[in-house]
Symmetry: C2
Subunit: 167 residues, 2 copies
Amino acid sequence: MKISTKGRYGLRAMIDMALYSEEETVSISSIAARQQISESYLEQLVAKLKKAGLVVSSRGAQGGYRLAKPAGEISVGDILRALEGSLDAVECPGLQEESGCETADFCVAKYVWKRINDSITKAVDDIDLSQLVEESRLVEKKSQNIENDHKAKTVRRESDEEINLFG
Amino acid sequence: MKISTKGRYGLRAMIDMALYSEEETVSISSIAARQQISESYLEQLVAKLKKAGLVVSSRGAQGGYRLAKPAGEISVGDILRALEGSLDAVECPGLQEESGCETADFCVAKYVWKRINDSITKAVDDIDLSQLVEESRLVEKKSQNIENDHKAKTVRRESDEEINLFG
DNA sequence: GTGAAATCCGAGTAAATTAGTCGGAAATAA
DNA sequence: TTATTTCCGACTAATTTACTCGGATTTCAC
């Protein structure tokens, strides 16, 4: 019942790309360095993201990757499904019409599986990359402000917004 | 990102027990037969449920298992956690205070993991065994009615209630 | 045109997890 | 006393995870 390193690293890579790929392409090696992920492993993950049409690449020196669409059009669900496959916690045949499951008619566990699946789907499809990029810039700004020790009130307001968005 | 056979079989076993253990204990072998689960494997699962205090046993001939508390006091979350361990899809150290994660301050992926974890927790803790027992009796009644081909309107009303409960 | 920097591609692999099986000891009702 | 049942630990095959590695191909910069 865990999201594997594929999904975990892959989402971080996509956030990284969203942050850095607006003007130029970013290389696997630069993402790997920033995110502390093995380069050769990340290569595989990005290949899946490319196959799913979430990123585009340019080969050769100075090449790299960019998002294939605006960050606002890429949901966390798109990313995780590209890397992990179906996010359904239970692939219960009883949930389909004409199921192959003999006990489906009497089995009420399927309602539980459906609820869990639906709640996961909703959670991941409600967040898109642009929200995470925004949040990321907010966090960065906040830590800068704390370092500089000024504009305390502004910081507090931004922090509240963050809670509204993700709390 | 899947709930394993432990959780899947185990929940079905608990529903079965809730349906049949009100008056008498039920044996592993009878659950296994009804639910089409291997007897020796089910043994292991029920041991976990017992350890978690969800069922009690009586040994020897005519022995078996019963729920340790009323069905209404046992949530699906209790059952699945007893069998699967933590249901968190990501055990992200950045979600704890004083995390060991170096990049936690800048990592916004953690908000995603928190959301997913919370939505799963809510989904499983909102359903208890008594709801599933009720639903199960409803489904059984419905199929009896369909067989007998009468009381069609009553059936339709009950079906609507079912949708309200689990839709 | 040569070299360095990149993506691209497939194969291989150690470790962990899953989904069980098996054999037998201990308890208890009939 | 015997059949039924829980209880317990060890074992195992298959699958999945989390990578690594070697090399082919493309393209920019000089």
